[in-house]
């Protein structure tokens, strides 16, 4: 069974981003970049499938600039077998990214596509679902448990009301939520080995994908600041403030 896992290069989750001084976009100069945390969980899940003998090959794919090779190498160090970079310097939208991924699915014919539920830069939470529409495959988003048996995936999903279990014939798309697994750290020998693994590069043009953006970013702003609060001495003062100043309890 072949697994395709999609990884995105994003601002590290520890960074508090700032706008550019002209407020046109986020300022990414000299900011630490990492593999999107949800994609890391997707890679870990692929590696576990291989360790269980369910998966035979893991192909990691990323759509983005040359530097995305770093995140692909991370995926390779975690256990992916080879990688594909769909190279573009444009900032693509989920629809265009999904179109690129669909083209890769056509040439790779994976049995399952593992993705993150959300990229923590744009917080879009769209690409997996869009790839589902474009390929016609079933989708199980926000997965917290994945079992594969007899050509079927059984997925437990985290939903607003609790948990939902779905069964999907393969090929299918599964997007990872936080509790699917806890990703391992890449060991130094594996990081060294990853440098020698195969990493192919293609482009949206080679894949014949129309990547024209439909949405224009007009600008960014900082959210409204909260007025500074106070420290209360004790519970009595807290209750008094909530009753008589904020008037949120009676």
């Amino acid at each position: 069974m072949k697994v395709l896992v999609a990884v995105k290069r994003v601002v590290d989750y520890n960074v508090k981003v700032r706008p550019k001084s002209d407020m046109t976009d986020v300022d990414l100069a000299n900011v630490k970049m990492s593999i999107n945390p949800f994609c890391e969980i997707a890679v870990e899940e692929a590696v576990r499938l291989k360790e269980k003998g369910v998966a035979t090959e893991i192909v990691a794919v990323s759509v983005g600039p040359q530097q995305s090779q770093e995140q692909l190498r991370t995926a390779l160090a975690l256990g992916a077998d080879r990688a594909i970079l769909v190279n573009t310097d444009e900032t693509l939208e989920p629809l265009a990214i999904a179109k690129c991924l669909k083209a890769v699915c056509e040439s790779e014919s994976p049995d399952i596509i593992l993705m993150g539920k959300q990229a923590i830069d744009g917080d879009n939470n769209q690409t997996g679902q869009m790839l589902g529409a474009l390929t016609g495959y079933g989708q199980a988003t926000f997965a917290s448990e994945l079992t594969i048996e007899g050509g079927n995936a059984t997925v437990i999903r985290e939903v607003d009301g609790g948990l939902q279990t779905l069964a999907l014939p393969l090929p299918a798309i599964v997007t990872a939520d936080l509790r699917l697994n806890e990703p391992r750290y890449a060991s130094l020998p594996n990081i060294m080995k990853a440098k020698k693994k195969q990493l192919d590069t293609t482009t949206p043009v080679d894949l014949g994908v129309d990547i024209a953006n439909r949405v224009t970013l007009l600008g960014v702003e900082l959210p409204a600041e909260r007025a500074a609060g106070i420290k209360v001495e004790d519970i009595a003062q807290l209750v008094d403030k909530l009753k008589n100043e904020a008037k949120v309890i009676s």
């Binding site: 923590i120 948990l163 007009l218």
Partner: protein, 309 residues
């Protein structure tokens, strides 16, 4: 200009979250219709018809739509969408699952989680865990949008009497099937709809200690939430997680107990009207957003609070 609002419902009743999208559609202006896709969902449709200012309610009622499977519901919505300029749904997990699939079927770029309507084609939305607000303009003929519930006050649930018409064919893709669900049962208000939310974090220590929060919540008529760390540690179930990748809440009062205040948590609650933080570490970042901060051991403070109210 005409907007199709996709109803959030459980077949037997319409979820009030739908009313936040109706409010966003009203902010946009133009005609508003509601589409209910479900199975035996007539009761939900009747509630939708009572919402003020709705042109008509369309119901696609078929067994294939019983569990809101995206592979079935998305083509149903896409079929109806052609006659509209905007398709909106409140950003619940159901809508987040379905709407991007609808958008891709229509070959349009969806816009997630809008927090403001600037004009017919221009919207505001939080990015980077709400650290920035982006203004984006869509050039697509049909705008597929999910709506951040906390950013639009719910439209009135009644006052209207729209007509109800049956629409659509059955889309049964067999690309996924429903096996089961574990739905959290609670007498407390729903997290995203509650006026008061009391949340616990890793500092709570274990699941049993959350009883202190449940007891308090019952006195206040509040909902109980949690940080990711508390969910990951197994103290409480996943549906209680507040944050960037959990639920977004903006109650009148949010009480954070034993929560440090990571940006991913703040992303889900910093639009609350009044924020209280109880934490024993006076340097905890949660205090930077708190209107009232109490530096204290929660195991001392919570019993005192319980006794005082």
């Amino acid at each position: 200009m005409s907007t199709l609002v996709i109803a959030e419902h459980d077949n037997s009743s319409m979820n009030v979250a739908t009313l936040n999208s109706v409010a966003a559609a009203q902010a946009l202006g133009g005609d508003i219709d509601i589409l209910v896709v479900g199975a035996d969902c007539q009761a939900a449709a009747e509630q939708a018809a009572q919402v003020d200012g709705i042109g008509k309610v369309m119901v696609a009622d078929n067994a294939a739509y019983a569990h809101s499977l995206a592979e079935n519901v998305a083509p149903m919505i896409a079929e109806i969408a052609a006659g509209y300029s905007h398709i909106m749904a409140t950003a619940t997990t159901t809508a987040k699952n379905i709407m991007p699939r609808v958008a891709a079927l229509l070959d349009v770029q969806a816009i997630s989680d809008i927090s403001g309507v600037v004009s017919e084609d221009t919207f505001k939305r939080p990015i980077y865990a709400g650290n920035l607000i982006a203004t984006v303009q869509s050039s697509d003929a049909i705008k597929v949008l999910t709506v951040r519930g906390t950013a639009f006050d719910a439209a009135p649930a009644d006052g209207g009497s729209a007509s109800i018409e049956a629409v659509g064919s059955a889309h049964d893709s067999a690309k996924s099937s429903f096996i089961g669900e574990e739905v959290a049962e609670s007498d407390r208000p729903e997290l995203t709809a509650a006026d008061i939310v009391i949340s616990g974090g890793r500092g709570m220590g274990n699941g049993e200690n959350f009883d202190m929060l449940y007891n308090l919540a019952d006195k206040f008529g509040a909902a109980v939430g949690a940080s990711r760390a508390a969910v990951d540690a197994g103290f409480v179930p996943n549906d209680m997680q507040v944050g960037q990748t959990g639920k977004i809440v903006a109650p009148d009062l949010y009480v954070a107990v034993g929560i440090s205040g990571a940006i991913q948590h703040l992303a889900g609650m910093k639009d609350s009207k009044v924020i209280v933080a109880i934490n024993k570490d006076e340097e905890a970042p949660i205090f930077s957003v708190a209107d009232y901060g109490l530096v204290a051991d929660l195991f001392v403070a919570l019993p005192e609070l319980d006794a005082a109210v």
